[in-house]
């Protein structure tokens, strides 16, 4: 799209700061928020990158809530099933599998968290080196959403 690239080093570092906010859970939300509120009139690049970083962090929060609910359901279901099965066949084996499965689900959630944080870090490095970074799936949609007139002009 037509969102401009950074021109000054301040722009690059502030965008990197906004993206790096994801490294500190929940409190890190403040970094892109402050950058957006303070500088959105001065630089379109910064306004976009800060909004993108905010949206990405909130996406992580939403994914965390959904993942929490899903894994809770899964663990509850498997535990109850293991309890029933363990009583039925008078064995402790089902419980061992459920314990292993619980660690597996927790590990999976941690891996997803790690991927999000890694992507945020990549975004910060890319912005610091002057790229007009877009997150996969999210970035282009956001850019199209925020510049509707230019998108329409392109289609005509």
């Amino acid at each position: 799209m037509t969102i401009p690239s950074p021109t000054t080093s301040n722009e690059r570092w502030l965008a990197a700061l906004a993206h790096a906010g994801i490294l500190i859970p929940t409190i890190g939300l403040a970094a892109p928020l402050v950058v957006w509120l303070a500088l959105r009139q001065k630089s379109t690049f910064l306004a976009f990158q800060a909004l993108q970083a905010l949206a990405f962090q909130l996406l992580l929060a939403v994914a965390g809530v959904i993942g929490g609910f899903l894994s809770g359901f899964l663990m509850l279901g498997f535990s109850l099933a293991a309890m029933a099965l363990g009583i039925a066949i008078e064995s402790e084996a089902p419980f061992i599998f459920v314990t292993g499965g619980t660690w597996l689900v927790l590990g999976l959630l941690l891996c997803v968290l790690g991927l999000f944080v890694l992507l945020g870090l990549i975004a910060a490095i890319a912005c610091a080196s002057g790229a007009n970074f877009r997150y996969p799936l999210l970035g282009d949609r956001l850019a199209r959403y925020l510049t509707p007139a230019e998108t329409e002009a392109r289609h005509e």
Partner: protein, 153 residues
């Protein structure tokens, strides 16, 4: 510096969605919503209403959660100390009954917490989606709370 600008109306709607999605970030999301409301309410009619609604919704939910947690903590001690004193008296046979009733009640409360959390996240997500699409955004009871507090001057 450049003539390219983000569409102001779209930016406003995205900011409103960010306020609504603040519900998903524990404790810090409401601060973000508060900051957006405080700084943007004079600049944007849309944010003046939507950020305020998100703030009231998240504030009411957080307040209710803390209140409920306090009441539950108090309830535990209200059961714990009397049963401890009862165990030396003739009423000792009632102690297990009281604890069973307490446990069943607490299981019900846990279910209630769960349903409330689901409703909270659903309402916040729906509000964010609607504000992104430019639709009407409303939380149940929050309009009434807004009028009651006369928060939107």
């Amino acid at each position: 510096m450049s003539e390219a600008r983000l569409d102001p109306a779209r930016e406003e709607r995205l900011a409103a969605a960010i306020c609504h999605l603040g519900a998903f970030v524990p404790y810090m999301g409401i601060l973000a919503t508060l900051i957006i409301w405080l700084t943007q309410k004079e600049r944007s009619v849309l944010l003046r209403r939507q950020a305020l609604d998100a703030l009231l919704f998240q504030g009411a939910a957080t307040g209710l959660y803390l209140l409920a947690s306090g009441v539950l903590g108090g309830a535990y001690f209200l059961v714990f100390f009397p049963t401890m004193m009862m165990s030396d008296t003739a009423a000792a046979e009632f102690v297990p009954v009281i604890w069973i009733v307490y446990t069943v009640l607490m299981l019900g409360v846990m279910l209630l917490y769960f349903v409330a959390a689901l409703a909270y996240y659903f309402l916040a997500g729906r509000a964010a989606w609607n504000s992104l699409r430019g639709g009407r955004v409303s939380y149940p009871l929050i309009g009434w709370l807004r009028e009651l507090l006369r928060a939107e001057r």
